[in-house]
Symmetry: C3
Subunit: 378 residues, 3 copies
Amino acid sequence: MDFLSSFFTLFLGKLQSPTLGFLIGGMVVAAFNSRLTIPDPIYKFIVFMLLLKVGLSGGIAIRNANLVEMLLPALFAMLVGVLIVFIGRYTLAKLPKVKVVDAIATAGLFGAVSGSTLAAGLTILETEGVQYEPWAAALYPFMDIPALVTAIVLASIYISKQRDKYFSQEESLSKQTVTAGGYSSEQGGTVSGGSSNQSTTASGYPRKQPERVKIWPIVQESLQGSALSALLLGLALGILTRPESVYESFFNPLFRGLLSILMLVMGMEATARIGELRKVGQWYALYAFIAPLLHGFIAFGLGMIAHVTTGFSLGGVVILAVIASSSSDISGPPTLRAGIPSANPSAYIGSSTAVGTPVALAIGIPLFIGLAQALGGG
Amino acid sequence: MDFLSSFFTLFLGKLQSPTLGFLIGGMVVAAFNSRLTIPDPIYKFIVFMLLLKVGLSGGIAIRNANLVEMLLPALFAMLVGVLIVFIGRYTLAKLPKVKVVDAIATAGLFGAVSGSTLAAGLTILETEGVQYEPWAAALYPFMDIPALVTAIVLASIYISKQRDKYFSQEESLSKQTVTAGGYSSEQGGTVSGGSSNQSTTASGYPRKQPERVKIWPIVQESLQGSALSALLLGLALGILTRPESVYESFFNPLFRGLLSILMLVMGMEATARIGELRKVGQWYALYAFIAPLLHGFIAFGLGMIAHVTTGFSLGGVVILAVIASSSSDISGPPTLRAGIPSANPSAYIGSSTAVGTPVALAIGIPLFIGLAQALGGG
Amino acid sequence: MDFLSSFFTLFLGKLQSPTLGFLIGGMVVAAFNSRLTIPDPIYKFIVFMLLLKVGLSGGIAIRNANLVEMLLPALFAMLVGVLIVFIGRYTLAKLPKVKVVDAIATAGLFGAVSGSTLAAGLTILETEGVQYEPWAAALYPFMDIPALVTAIVLASIYISKQRDKYFSQEESLSKQTVTAGGYSSEQGGTVSGGSSNQSTTASGYPRKQPERVKIWPIVQESLQGSALSALLLGLALGILTRPESVYESFFNPLFRGLLSILMLVMGMEATARIGELRKVGQWYALYAFIAPLLHGFIAFGLGMIAHVTTGFSLGGVVILAVIASSSSDISGPPTLRAGIPSANPSAYIGSSTAVGTPVALAIGIPLFIGLAQALGGG
């Protein structure tokens, strides 16, 4: 009882933090149809500044860190990224009126990571004085890339199976011939997930290519996204140069203020996207509400295993949970649009921006920090 | 004599402040046809940052304030806002070659408040070490909204009287019939000021609607403007959350620097708009030069009443005078364009931006601060 | 030997500075085709902020400075600006496949000054604790304007000589008549460099106007450029107002951080422009690689004369060398485009941005600082 009551007190206290206040303020401002906007170049620059700062601090930390202790958390991050997509594949995709490719893309976006949510989590952890390994923010790509790759691979498998079914019913006689012909034009025997379903012509469906989705272009596309690029640039500069002075005098002091403005924009965005969600339907809203918390708890559990076995800090466990509960809103969508072109962007972007991200920020972060504090104090 | 000489010394000292230096610098740069520009998204973001900061500090103050002491200054702010429009109605509008609706719109803009001018005033007060109630900046909407509402109402009254006159000369026989028909299509018996003069068709003029102008849409339009939205958002966040840390580490330290850049932009704008003013004519230039100082003195006088009776600080009196002498350049124009569509925007925007705002900044602010210091020291 | 070894150690140390790290980071990010970009309004604002800060600090310094000691360095700056263009005229312009006007324009751009390179040099000097006269940054326009003026004058002389040659071959009989007619329409007997080669019509070439190029429009065009405007605005505000408080609280603390982001953009730009350079050819690449170092050494030598004779600081010598080794990338191109319209912009802009500026930043700055430190310690 003592644990539960202290947890609820802590959880409620987090809800009054200015970071979340700005998020809710943005939602309210947009709901009143205010003409207040943050210009897009400012928004993009703020995201860049936040991720560069997160990367720099991670890089500076890694320079002096014991990389072995990063192994288990990184492995768990990858595992969670893959798992999230499979959970979406066998829950959301099975619901009525939900298209399977849309569901897989949505699960991919919920597995991918939001740099802004991560930044908000780090700020609130620091405000609360919760200790964490500075390299913990560098777990980001270990979850982000596997989730996007898994989603695109699963979508390709599903699409080619559908073709197969269609094919076996319609043209079962000419099977072998077409298959051979279908492969002849491919280099290295692989087909990119993105283009495979566009190459289907009236003359015949290429078939049975599930394991042949190209992984590297998805990884590359993901790394070239502005969010991961900024994060990795910061990491590299933190490891290879000595940016401590510019970090302490510029990136670190501006961090919390820029984040508060980003929260405002995200709140305004969430309200503006509510309409998009309505078109997509209630199952997505339900999934987008539950998924961030479920994913966060799975990651929290795995993080606790690392906490007990290798001494991974409780703050690090929270970061792993926050990364898992976040859904990508900047860099994920273009990767998915290229990787699963048949999926409906308003399904996955609407779910993520209008529900998933606000839930991760306003419920997930205070929940996991409160849980860690209750466990740490217990 | 001692009072006058100390006042002039103080007034001249204010003219050398860096805040006004940036304003004059911007005017000079633009006069030399420099290609130097501050990109528009940056400008908008700076205005947002300044108003959010003003709102936050006001909100934090109100949280611990005695709201009763705000009553009289707020009442005086409303009174000044209404009075300014009536002064314009019975001075500027009576001058030769000046159209009445243009004059009313101009008076409305001079009654409305400029967040930038307010911010400049607050900075110079702080530099000078003049004390003021932190909630004084929250007097902004108490003058802004009544001024805009009054202007739109007066314009509607004038327009419908004109129609009436036209009507009584041309079709005095069919009077009663058309009047009844004119009212039949209205809900709740009111007509919005903005659309009433657009609904006049060949079949007949709706008449006698002066008291029927809808007030709420004007208030709403005004509150939805980006300037008031940012200010009220800051107020709400200051009252309801605990933004002290992000305020002290981000919004407050950046305030003075961002303001200096805003002054630069306003100076450049003032020079660029000089040409616009020439088209509008010398009466507008005369009004735009005298009005900020006259309005400021009226507000200063009322503020002194509050100073003597309820202990309103001399710094607060200066803020009331600065708010009165300022004319809206960001949020006012769209409200007026919607509310008095028949008024010529280059008349009121040109008067405000090219003359009114520079006069309020470069003469008004040092004048009122010098006056307060001379009174305080006397 | 001791001098050489200490010089090389110092030079290598500079290469690891975060300022250059961000430059190289930007080159790498762009080479990986990342979608990371810094929005253009942000970039322009950062350049403005840096140059305003450089101007402010120079102006504050000049207010208390002995202007006589600025004389010799300013004279040397002008000399170097003119010399650089003549060097280009008699080296690059003589190479095969290089058009003379393109070569002169390129030399003009390499003689003009880059505010960003200057800012980077100042930051690294401060990091290294090398002392310099704060007015040294104000040497900028003393080199920038003479270089651009010389380039446009030399180009005009060359173009009119070409016409002369053509003219004397084709129409040698009617010489005197046309010359007289050519001059008749000009005020004050001068022809602007920019328009002279556009006014050639089928009826005949105006001739022999080499010394009659209008100097003032070139100077004016150069001063109106956004970079010099920002610098001179800062200088004027620093001299005439008291901006110390806003300088210390805003412009100075942000300087190093904003510079690091500018370096990133410049690195990205350099990679993106590599393709442009390829079109222009290897002679430009060779010139653009050697010129910044050669120009820097010439200025360093002249600066050492001032160091020995008038006590000009070694830090000031480095600044003179950095200004000479820099090539203009923001404000120079529009001046040249207007002044030498027949020159190919991709020749001079490509040479400057893709090779000249990176060489000045990554080799020039550490080289000259290392040299000064080795000399100062010797």
